[in-house]
């Protein structure tokens, strides 16, 4: 090991005890069903777009970045899944990957104050549009499929995660599109800081559906292309450094958000990044890897330009572009952090270095998180194989 060369900050023990640390993660993504598949896919720069099955009906775009092999009943069993929406299923499979090993044994301890916070855009649009279609076209307007109703609640995926794993702590759903993963992370940080939870499952999710595709297609602003859409769910376990039960992969030094009120996303991103770096107590020169959302919009291009102007050029090339996953909307910011962790896992030089992710959303939200990458091998009870489910 080269630990003698590393910054002392690479060890969790050097962090203030209330620092939020990421101690595990899982991803159900266009790269596959597990964090391992995601990490391998990110590191190889694999393309994920496919031609969707004809069962989707007409779609505005010939390709989409779908989670491969996502068979809900096969993955979650027959009970309670017949009418389950895809968003909930993506979240539940990700939660299994987060808390359990491949054999289904629980590997992350939880208690009565373990919280869940999930970022979304607008839940399962397939569920709500199908419900409304039934209401408009069936013999009577309330002749709708009652069995699907619970899945149409915007907080269902988070609540279902709690039910599946017996998590009775604070359970929250936040909406913010591409920024929602950062809003969720900050929400967890705040509530843990106030002693409301001992640890959190935190992340964000988006499902692909024809309804989502057509709404996104028609929402495109003049001059922007119809988006190549992606989907998936990324989740983290976060704990306080002082009480973490598992090796820390990264410390969350700052999460800052802002609203672009002047239709000038570049300026908003610049202000947000500067504030986040200041809060984290690091300089722009220290940023080792930076991952913008790569949104296929003017705001996404402005985001990239803002980071190019602010940060070392090599920081923006460390992690392959998120374009390879498609526009994963609400799942994006969580996947961005996981992409950095994936690259860092394969690079011993990453430990102790600074990573930064940004996000911009159509509704005007802007976000930036600053992390310090840690070397999990330096932590007591090191279990690097368990860290990435």
């Amino acid at each position: 090991m080269t630990s003698s060369l590393k910054s002392p900050a690479a060890t969790p023990a050097a962090l203030p005890p209330e620092t939020l640390v990421i101690t595990g993660w899982s991803a159900v993504s266009p790269h596959g069903l597990t964090g391992r598949a995601f990490a391998a896919g990110v590191r190889s720069g694999a393309k994920t777009s496919v031609q969707p099955d004809e069962a989707y009906g007409p779609l505005p775009s010939p390709e989409v970045c779908l989670v491969p092999g996502f068979d809900i009943k096969g993955l979650l069993g027959p009970v309670g899944t017949a009418k389950m929406d895809r968003l909930t299923a993506l979240t539940l499979v990700a939660s299994d990957g987060l808390l359990q090993d491949a054999e289904g044994n629980r590997v992350v301890e939880t208690d009565g104050r373990t919280g869940v916070v999930l970022g979304i855009s607008m839940g399962s649009l397939e569920n709500v549009t199908n419900f409304l279609k039934q209401s408009y076209t069936n013999a009577l307007p309330f002749h709708v499929d009652a069995g699907r109703i619970p899945f149409g609640s915007l907080n269902h995926a988070a609540g279902a995660t709690a039910i599946r794993h017996g998590l009775t702590g604070p359970n929250t759903t936040v909406a913010g599109g591409r920024v929602s993963g950062l809003l969720a992370l900050n929400y967890a940080r705040r509530l843990m800081g106030q002693g409301r939870a001992t640890k959190y499952l935190v992340g964000s999710a988006e499902e692909f559906s024809a309804a989502h595709a057509w709404i996104e297609h028609t929402a495109v602003l003049p001059g922007d292309p119809s988006p190549l859409l992606g989907e998936g769910c990324g989740l983290f376990v976060v704990e306080h450094a002082g009480t973490a039960q598992r090796p820390a992969l990264a410390a969350v030094l700052a999460v800052e958000t802002r609203v672009d009120i002047d239709d000038d996303p570049g300026t908003a991103v610049t202000a947000c990044v500067r504030r986040a770096l200041a809060k984290a107590g690091v300089t722009a020169d220290e940023v080792w890897a930076a991952v913008p959302s790569a949104a296929p919009t003017a705001a996404g291009r402005a985001e990239h330009e803002a980071l190019t102007a602010l940060l070392p050029a090599e920081a923006l090339t460390k992690v392959p572009s998120m374009e390879l996953l498609g526009d994963t909307s609400a799942a994006a910011a969580t996947f961005q952090i996981q992409a950095v962790l994936s690259v860092a896992e394969g690079e011993p030089a990453a430990a102790g270095r600074i990573a930064l992710v940004t996000a911009v959303d159509r509704d005007g939200a802007v976000g930036c998180a600053v992390l310090r990458l840690l070397d999990p091998n330096l932590a007591p009870n090191s279990d690097p194989n368990g860290a990435t489910a």
């Binding site: 007409p58 505005p60 869940v116 855009s121 709500v128 549009t129 419900f131 409304l132 279609k133 408009y136 009577l140 307007p141 309330f142 002749h143 709708v144 109703i149 619970p150 149409g152 609640s153 915007l154 907080n155 269902h156 988070a158 609540g159 279902a160 709690a162 039910i163 794993h165 017996g166 009775t168 359970n171 929250t172 759903t173 936040v174 909406a175 913010g176 599109g177 809003l183 900050n186 929400y187 705040r190 509530l191 800081g193 106030q194 409301r196 057509w214 709404i215 028609t218 929402a219 495109v220 958000t257 802002r258 609203v259 009120i261 202000a271 959303d361 159509r362 509704d363 005007g364 939200a365």
Partner: protein, 422 residues
Amino acid sequence: MSTAQSPAAPRSGTPDGRRRVVLTGLGAISSIGTGVEEYTEGLRAGRSGARPITRFDTEGFGQNIACEVPDFEPERWIHRVPLDDMGRAGQFAVAAARMAVDDAGLTEADLGERQAVISVGTTDGESHDIGVLVEQEIAAGDPGALDPVLSRRINAGRLSTVIARELRMPNVEPTTITTACAAGNYSIGYGLDAIRSGEVDIALCGGADAVCRKAFALFKRFGALTPDVVRPFDRNRQGILTGEGAGILVLESLESALSRGAHIYAEVLGYGLSCDAAHATAPNRDGIARGIRLALDDAGVERDEIDFISAHGTGTKANDKTESAAILDVYGDSPPRTVAVKSMLGHSMGAASALGAIACSLAIENQFIPPTINHVETDPDCPLDVVPNEAIDAEVRIVENNSSAFAGNNAILILGTYGERV
């Protein structure tokens, strides 16, 4: 005025060093009145917001009553952002936010670059717009025949960002919370935590929802829609009416409020969140009781200090029975008076607990307890003094505001008279 108040307690934090948080501005848009004055009058008079639905075609439903906001004039409150940048729920949210900051005496110069949280809770967001998009697709027989103006504005995150745009507040955390019918309390709690953390001094929090076909069809299908009026805790209750509106509250650190001589309606003493982790739609007695206990603990309030409870009180068989049992579990045989403002407002979904919190603030401000209207015979399964039909004058110092949501989420808020807490 009760809050012209006993002199400020000398401490600026609670005994454990936490920062204190107070309410300095209220914005209410409801089916029984818009603005603090009208809303207070509506609560005192026990007004009913029930009226025929105008938002969508109710043919075939066999009923057509909801608690819509009548005569809403968004242009009175929304000056900067084009009105079609947001749907009805967004318009309610922005108008209520403008009302709340005006009520707090905060100018745009006061807000400006100030770091703040804007957190709007919602159940359905702009689901009415999604319904219109589905109608457009069906009418055209073409999934691409969607109005781009609507497609762009359906995501719930916009409910918070559009307030920032209208009020010219760029330096904010725009956290829309979509924890369904408990979302208003969740948002207020989040603002409390953000200010307690010391990271911000101000938060605009609450909830907004608009009457929509989705909610109406859903509750009709579940058999949870009353054919006439909402009778919470009554033996013959038959369900909810869907409702709408927005409640936005200005939460401010005590230091900030005192330094600018702001009027203080009430102090946010604490809140509790619990998750049943049990059933996707059914209320859960233990989960609600745990949420109440967590809130009391967080507030540092004893059970016998609660002057009344503003219940979730939807008027369904299941909720009212379960919530009553949870209240008795916590409070024993002599629970505080427990009222359901949903008897007047219907179920305004994500706005419900925000409008409930504003009702509690106004009860503290004006020393009265709003009634549970339409009440004939208390259900033996709900052995509570529901303050039937007529508001009462009462000494009101500390109040509990309950909310629960599908997916097993409970959020309980405790408000108190500022300055009188021992």
